[in-house]
Symmetry: C2
Subunit: 164 residues, 2 copies
């Protein structure tokens, strides 16, 4: 089977016993989570979230980029979420390179200028979490009374560590 055939077969099995058809659009627990895209993070599982409970926003690093902020604004303003979590993790790929090195690699490989692509690689995990939380807290279009929590997830043992 190809990848797609395998995924579609799994989806058929899922749909056959589907039980979430009556869920409403707004997240039931009024939560929005911003986390890294890393394959080892199954966010719903390690937070005990059920389908329908929370918006899950994910990108490389769990960075509060303009796009993540866009999603959080929509989440709160249109769909009523009232509490945000930022989750970075140990052994993150973003700790393993520098933006400039990747930009150079891409230029050499694709013969196109990659200097405009900011990759948001970082050196210090806890500090990176703090910076993302700060960025969200200082966004003009998110109310100041929304709690924004910052955590590190440990891929080696599945535990969450509170940072801020």
């Amino acid at each position: 089977m190809t990848q797609i055939e395998k995924l579609l077969q799994a989806n058929k099995d899922y749909a056959r016993t589907f039980k979430h058809g009556k869920l409403l659009m707004p997240p039931a627990r009024n939560l929005a989570i911003l986390a890294c895209m890393d394959a080892r993070l199954t966010v719903e599982d390690f937070l005990g979230l059920q389908t329908g409970d929370a918006h899950i926003i994910r990108n490389a690093g769990g960075i509060a980029t303009n796009d993540a902020i866009r999603s959080l604004i929509i989440s709160h303003e249109l769909l009523g979420t009232k509490e945000f979590l930022v989750i970075n993790h140990t052994d993150c790929g973003m700790l393993t390179f520098k933006d400039k090195d990747l930009q150079t690699k891409l230029r050499d490989k694709y013969n196109a200028d990659a200097r405009k692509v900011t990759f948001h690689a970082f050196d210090d995990l806890a500090d990176n979490v703090k910076q993302q939380v700060k960025r969200i807290r200082t966004t003009p279009f998110i109310p100041e009374d929304i709690p924004v929590h910052g955590f590190v997830y440990h891929v080696e043992n599945g535990s969450l560590e509170k940072i801020v």
Copy 2:
């Protein structure tokens, strides 16, 4: 219990029986998925993915924004993914508003200029999927031979519909 106490209690239970501590950083099935943040989409579940299998990138709408493209470049270039899926879904919040209306609402509420925030609301679900796939396929820093598939997920019955 507060939200955070409840999430941390669930995480303690998860960590107690944790069995993914030996997973490697690169996704085991070499997949990257771009999907909407919607709470009703538990992406790993409806695709039959295990923890460690795939990068999961999510934002409001499942849009191939610059940030999603950034994540896909990192996913392929540094962590070896070789096949991408874009997944939008029925009853998406992005079908329910216009960027301009939300920008005006934000300006009135926060007394700050929101015209620079593009929200990527859309009218046509299938067409939106096609546009995101096209955007990824035409990005200079993603190889042309990477398959990029586009799907609509049906929140009413859990099934995936191939669009492109």
